[in-house]
Amino acid sequence: MKHSILSVFLLGLSAIAFTGCVTTPLPKDYTQFRQHQPKSILVLPPLNNSIEENASYSYLSTVTQPLAEQGYYVYPVAVTDAFLKENGMPTPGEMHQISLDKIEEVIGADAVLYIVVENYGSKYQIVDSSTTVSAQASLVDVDTGIELWSRRVTTVQSSSAGSGGIAEMLLAAAISQVINSSLDAAHGVSRTNNQRMFTEAGQGLLIGPRHAEFGSE
């Protein structure tokens, strides 16, 4: 009897876990994307609207992998940042103002990815904590200035103390606070956020020319 109550509970939880993946919004309109299919993407350091000072560069360091695995050439993000700084643009705000003509002339990218980090950090309650990362991204064709794709994605990761006595719960909360208190928690979540942002079917970027399945979508 005890088992069956528990298993009903677990089934309920797994239903919640599944429904998280199943709800899909309408697929995006990729007409412009197909017409101006980029091969290479220049990722500019994100603008930061969160209260975490290091959010911009922490987020930046998790963007390359999902984009490249999706079939695009991604310019080296730290080199780009250093190069733009050297050329009189000390902040992401100034970098986001560069004209597309200049990008074409100096770097030769097919498309530019503009990112705004909106939330980046952890919230601690007594028995659990949650880390939220949200960002908005826009991919713009360098030749025409047309926006090819844009999306806003939020990822929340909770670490709950699980079931146990109140003392254990408090202890677990204290421990996870220590682990999560650094930038590292949000950095891990931003990885997940970018994976979802760029690769979710019907919402992310189309598969790019360097991918084995390019053109099959």
């Binding site: 290091n54 050439y73 310019y75 100096v106």
Partner: protein, 116 residues
Amino acid sequence: MRLNSSIFCLLAPFLFCGCVQTTAYHWGDYEEQLYRMYAAPDQANALSQLEVLEADLEEAASLDKPLPPGMRAHMGFLYYQLGRFDEAYGAFLAEKTAFPESTKMMDRFINQISAK
């Protein structure tokens, strides 16, 4: 036994998500180094980054897996910072060869080194 099967249901999404992840490129520690160079610069100066990335490069070669876009150029930038211009030149050239999309940017750096 019903308990066992429901635990499986609970874990199933994780099990399935976990296995599928294979990458086209050998990423090694490239992005972790990028993170550190901004979040904890004292742990990732040019020299220590290069030590890690050179090991990644060898590992990629032994696995016969391609290096990701940007990694060779990033190494070129680190060599450049250390004044090791020949190695910087080689790395930028290697990036351009592996990824012709980078030609305009790499030529810019290559010319900068040649002018020295």
